[in-house]
Symmetry: C2
Subunit: 497 residues, 2 copies
Amino acid sequence: MKHYLQLKKLFERISHLHYIERILMWDEAVMMPEGAEQSRANAIATLNRSTQAILTSKKVKTLLEGAKQEEGLSAWDSMNLQKIEKIYRRATCIPLALTEKSTKSALTCEQAWRKLRPTNNWKKFLPYLEETFQCAKEKAERQADVFQLNPYDVLLDIYVPGFNQANIGPIFTQLKNALPALIQHITHKQMHEPIQIPQGPFAISQQKALGIAVMSALQFDFQRGRLDVSHHPFCSGSPMDVRITTRYREDEFITSLCGICHETGHALYEQGLPSQWIDQPVGQIDSMAMHESQSLLLEMQVCRSHAFIAFLVPLLEKEFGKQPAFTQENVFSLVTRVKPSFIRVDADEVTYPLHIILRYEIEKGLFSGDFKLIDLPTIWDEFMTKYLGLSTKNNDKDGVMQDVHWPSGAFGYFPAYTLGRLISAQLFATLNKANPMLDKNIKEGDFQPLIRWLKENVYCYAASLSTHDFLQKVTGHSLDTTYFINHVKQRYGIGNS
Amino acid sequence: MKHYLQLKKLFERISHLHYIERILMWDEAVMMPEGAEQSRANAIATLNRSTQAILTSKKVKTLLEGAKQEEGLSAWDSMNLQKIEKIYRRATCIPLALTEKSTKSALTCEQAWRKLRPTNNWKKFLPYLEETFQCAKEKAERQADVFQLNPYDVLLDIYVPGFNQANIGPIFTQLKNALPALIQHITHKQMHEPIQIPQGPFAISQQKALGIAVMSALQFDFQRGRLDVSHHPFCSGSPMDVRITTRYREDEFITSLCGICHETGHALYEQGLPSQWIDQPVGQIDSMAMHESQSLLLEMQVCRSHAFIAFLVPLLEKEFGKQPAFTQENVFSLVTRVKPSFIRVDADEVTYPLHIILRYEIEKGLFSGDFKLIDLPTIWDEFMTKYLGLSTKNNDKDGVMQDVHWPSGAFGYFPAYTLGRLISAQLFATLNKANPMLDKNIKEGDFQPLIRWLKENVYCYAASLSTHDFLQKVTGHSLDTTYFINHVKQRYGIGNS
């Protein structure tokens, strides 16, 4: 195993440099003064160049060839070696200069996006996005040649290994067929349900205290992580140093709190990964669908449930005082309101998949050449009108400019959210079957049984199983939209027709 | 200039990686959760390894040889090339494994120091320090062979290029001869001067507001920097992203405020460096004596002066309300109290050099082999008793364990403080001669003329001149202790005897 062990050592170094990159990303979003933008973009490009230099060295090639001949590898080691080879093949088809150009352009584009989105300035933003898209496309095409795949499938496989247009298409079609009727049914029903809006202001210091109380209850380990503020909530860092963020508004606290629950789901997954593997590819979650399944399991399945709200209401009263809106029923209504809206990150769980399907279809069109970037505002408006009955005409900040993904070069990421949501529903159904007391535990604020189950049935596998094998092993079934559809029907009180 | 230009490109990359390292150091001290210590140490070691790999590559050697034959280099470029060669020669004599070991051991030692100092646990700390010292010594010895120097002189030259035991010795002897009588005189005089202690608590949010007001007045550019809190004040980052820190206590505000003034001096120097050279060795301050001269010029010469205090008192009253202790005279007394004490960073400007001389003499002894680490508590106690009349017996946390420098591997750094202090006094005398209105400007809170002079006479040169040439050019004299001694006599009202 001489070659394999040396290979592991090299990939450990690559993992260190990735950790550094993620801390720098966090710093840029949370701490960095604005004047450092250009310096930071240059520095990250250089760092990536160093990472690429290790990854694409001839030594890796030789070691890979040697390691593949070696015997006695454990199942985890074999999977690790497979992942290493895939990473190596992906990287070697991208020239250093293109990697550097693409990193720099994505950083610059993201910085431009932060400034231009608030002023709704699509025209000024477009050239930045053009360059970032061209880089992403060129990289995808080079990889497509190597792996004999369609370029957009290459990107899907990066974020959700094992998934492609052929297996995502039917899943999304099922959702497109089922959701509109459900949305209509639910919005009609909710129209007649009274709802009371909590009265602010809600001091940021108290919202933060509330968030930390919830994170602590959910077993977030503050010895290995922090909570901060950024423009867009995210989770970064590494298992020993998990950085999550949220954003606060004084007039309402629910968005921020749900953001914290979501990111805590990501964070717990990271903190729960097997520590002996954290610096190897097999120990790191390469499927963003799996990662989102954990954030959405917490945010959507757990934290918006009646049981969780029973636990939450006393905390709300402790931080903000009593008020008529703080009944369990009303808070449940607040966090389960279904209403077609512009912004994906603020969307309810029922309309959310349509936001994703829209983005997926646009990305497909961009990569097939059917759509052009310059036409995106019009296309976006058309799709939004078709799926959600809302027009984004002259409102690009709430339309095509709303997400950080494309400006940062992450084309192909979006489907991970909805695939993750479907996985989370499927897992939660299994979890409830395994622990009939779960609802009671949550009500009482005892999250240990929940997190223990996740540790023993999800976190512990890291990336040692494909998503398909994982679902078969843990839930007994392959990915199935039925769990999510049933969850929606149950939560929103819709009988089977 | 083909070779030289390629060399510049490589050193630009090295500069990017150094910027990253400094942000990580800042993050570790200010933000990082404790559980990430080991991960962080590993990551920084890997980063340094990447930097070393670029620096010590054969390509640099080839380019250096080529560049030295090239003509048409400007004075700055020639100096840059000289510095590049020195850095290259220093680096190539250290094997990668030793660099990695030394970085890791210093980080681990510093982390141990943070925990063990508060509990006064020298015994548990000693093995960490042993390893860090051995690494530093081995590196110094390897460099000593290459440069044909004494190992301790190698280290001195790293932190204060152009200085060594032969020229530091006589300077320190002059101070050792002059200071004890001055200290005795001043402490005797001050014994009879009334002093009123400001009554706290001083809320940290208000101390921070005060610090930011002072930094703004001193022209700190918050677009390119931040102020935060750490265990030990420092300045890190890069000219476009300067991170300074202080620490607060609720019972008094002066230590923290003086820390901010000190670090602001470092920060202004960084922010004032010529922007086209910031990623090249000639554009970066390699002399810590020069860097300290700027922090001390602000802290000691400017911020503890009568003129500055006239500007400061209204700010104090704005933040903390009026109180009897807030008279100009009393605040001046507070910031100019001379009293032999244990802690270097809290020492007054008159006893301070003796703290440095003590450390310098101990370091000399450690590197000559006359002293052993295990005996440091006893030696420290002896020297403190001799120079300042204070015993540190059984009080290592306020003795040999008080500074971050040795735990972090920075042997040879200390003389930079006192050399910097001497330079600052010499520069300030020149500055006052050039601008007779300076005192009035400061009183009125108009720091523009002061900072402009520093920009035009100090910052603009970056590292393009040796300290000796710089002093000759700007002050007309080589380094001279007279300016500092005269300053002490003047500030503390001592006539020439």
